[in-house]
């Protein structure tokens, strides 16, 4: 063996093969490294190109862009308040509905569901999480909005008519489309998303912990509330943040049903707009020196906000992973 190794001097043919093999090896390493760097470059490129594209608007409007409501393409006065408001409120409505229901589904799947049904329902939920948003949008426009307009909204408006705050939150006329409808569609859309993640997180709880609690005589609910939820808190919050990130940036499901009106109405039933809907509806028609840049600045704001939300989500989910690693 030693002889064999020593006989590899630089001129021998097998050594040349070895050298070319090393060269290929290094090349392959660099190739994979290069591709990994491309991912980071994409991220930096997005921020850089959006900032560059939005620069005229940033220079023209400055920071007050964030709290100005005006949106007038004719006089070239733009402010982001209405789309920011719409984005935040629709996402808040979505989370209000989707979080409790999504966690409820996860509880049902992990604790209550009969074994034979567990996999089918779980798979159904995951498949639904993959359905494209445009499907939810078209359904919202053709099915949900007319129903809301004809039967639900008039009743809601009538019910709250005499009550001080609620009467202005749910004031008419019933358009069918608007902030509330968009929030509802977002809720339905993010629901399977939240359920799927929460279920995975719940299933990661070590059975020993649950069994110990059951052994002490705890009921299923007490085990959930006092053992499973505290153990998985970071993961559940992470999952909800992930869903929130999706809801904030969701375009098509919202664009169909939001009504695209650049104003802030006190009524949740009135049409409004979100950042993504404004870009989708107006960008191809944006002429003038500031219209396009203003829309790109909206995109930049949206991107930065979702990056923060998603980063928090990741840190939360990562924390749970670390803890799961600590306790085998």
């Amino acid at each position: 063996m030693v002889d064999l190794a020593l006989s590899h001097d630089v001129t021998s043919p097998s050594s040349a093969r070895l050298r070319s093999s090393y060269r290929n090896d290094r090349l392959f390493h660099r190739l994979t490294l290069g591709c990994a760097v491309v991912v980071v470059a994409m991220f930096v490129g997005i921020i850089w190109s959006l900032t560059a594209g939005a620069w005229p608007a940033i220079r023209a409007f400055g920071l007050p862009f964030l709290w100005t409501e005006a949106w007038n393409p004719v006089t070239e006065k733009f402010g982001a308040l209405a789309p920011i408001y719409g984005t935040l409120v629709t996402s808040a409505i979505a989370m209000l509905f989707a979080v409790p229901i999504g966690i409820g589904i996860a509880i049902f799947l992990t604790e209550l569901c009969p074994r034979p049904l567990r996999r089918p329902i779980g798979i159904a939920v995951e498949l639904l999480a993959g359905i494209p948003s445009i499907i939810y949008g078209i359904w919202g426009l053709f099915v949900l909005a007319p129903v809301l307009q004809q039967s639900v909204m008039p009743r809601v408006i009538g019910t709250f008519a005499g009550i001080p705050v609620l009467s202005s939150l749910f004031a008419g006329p019933p358009y069918g489309i608007g902030i509330f409808t968009a929030g509802l569609i977002l809720a339905i859309m993010t629901l399977p998303f939240i359920s799927a993640i929460t279920r995975d997180v719940f299933e990661a709880v070590p059975p020993v912990l649950k069994e110990a609690a059951y052994g002490l005589g705890a009921t299923t609910w007490e085990v959930l509330w006092n053992v499973v939820l505290p153990y998985t808190r970071a993961g559940v919050v992470g999952g909800v943040m992930l869903a929130l990130g999706r809801a904030l940036g969701e375009t098509m499901a919202v664009t169909f049903v939001i009504g695209n009106a650049h104003r802030i109405a006190t009524s949740l039933l009135a049409p409004g707009t979100t950042i993504s809907a404004a870009i989708a509806n107006e960008f191809t028609e944006a002429i003038g020196d500031l219209y396009g840049p203003a829309l790109i600045e909206l995109g930049l704001i949206l991107f930065l906000v979702t990056v923060v939300v998603l980063a928090v989500a990741q840190l939360m989910l990562h924390r749970l992973e670390l803890r799961a690693g600590e306790r085998p």
Partner: protein
């Protein structure tokens, strides 16, 4: 003993668990309702003409041929760019740079890109490609979709490679195989089904993406296979037709929506079957 206390605990248990059943029934019925409407409206307007005619002007008969072909072309283009790039990057994360600082950064950024708003990615490609080329094109649409494909493939490739036991790698290295050889001949092969799963999931993800195509590929009312010109795609055609006031366009939009949903379901179910097979082996 203290039977009132136990009774209250049992009652509370019963109450909250029934709430979760109600939540499940409520949530699933919404989703069933959506799928039901989609199947009903979609199937009632599917016929042969859908696949052999292009999008019509309002008021006349037509199909979605140009949109279907456009979607297929741009998706293939996105997969051709995104898959190798994603697989190599995922390989770096799992094989070479497992614990390096760079890998941590790439992983973090990749997971953010995975859920980043797709409309912003559209704006990015508009700036990078449409403005430099001076016109909308199917190339730009394909690249915009590739930006969505890459993070999905990176994530699944890394996850799947990490599942391969280290003993396999060590055995191959002990035989004197160079690192790149080990990766290509041993770990990639062992993880093949998993990596294919990732690609399928990525295709499923982009087949319904509308927002990134709005300002890159735009739309095209006519039949065109020229990748250097604006091109129709199913999602954008659906968007345009659904927002129009014409009833026959609405019917086409529904059938297009059904086509997309069926494609997505078939892709994700195939991916799931493949994944289950890898888990077992």
């Amino acid at each position: 003993m203290n039977s009132g206390y136990y009774f209250r605990r049992r009652l509370r248990n019963r109450f909250f668990l029934s709430l979760s059943v109600v939540a499940t029934a409520f949530g699933l019925s919404w989703l069933a309702l959506i799928l039901g409407t989609l199947l009903y409206e979609g199937f009632s307007s599917i016929d042969l003409g859908l696949f052999i005619q292009s999008t019509p002007p309002p008021g006349s008969m037509g199909g979605l041929l140009n949109a279907i072909l456009g979607s297929l072309m741009m998706s293939s283009f996105a997969v051709l760019i995104g898959t190798p790039l994603g697989i190599f990057a995922g390989t770096y994360l799992a094989e070479y740079g497992r614990h390096t600082k760079l890998a941590t950064v790439v992983r973090f950024v990749n997971d953010i890109l995975l859920s980043a708003p797709s409309i912003v990615l559209g704006l990015f490609i508009y700036d990078v490609m449409v403005l430099t080329m001076g016109h909308f094109s199917a190339w730009a649409g394909g690249v915009a979709l590739a930006v969505i494909v890459i993070p999905v493939v990176v994530r699944t490739t890394e996850n799947m490679l990490l599942l391969i036991p280290n003993t396999l790698r060590e055995a191959a290295v002990a035989l004197g195989a160079p690192r790149s050889h080990v990766i290509q001949q041993v770990t990639w092969r062992a993880a093949r089904a998993g990596i294919v799963t990732g690609v399928l999931l990525a295709i499923a993800r982009i087949s319904g993406e509308t927002a990134p195509l709005l300002f890159t590929a735009l739309n095209n009312q006519f039949f065109s296979l020229n990748p250097n010109a604006p091109m129709a795609s199913l999602p954008v055609a659906i968007f345009q037709m659904a927002m129009s006031p014409y009833a026959d366009w609405h019917r086409l939009a529904w059938s297009g929506a059904l086509l997309i949903t069926l494609a997505v379901l078939v892709l994700s179910i195939t991916a799931r079957v493949l994944e289950a097979r890898t888990d077992r082996s």
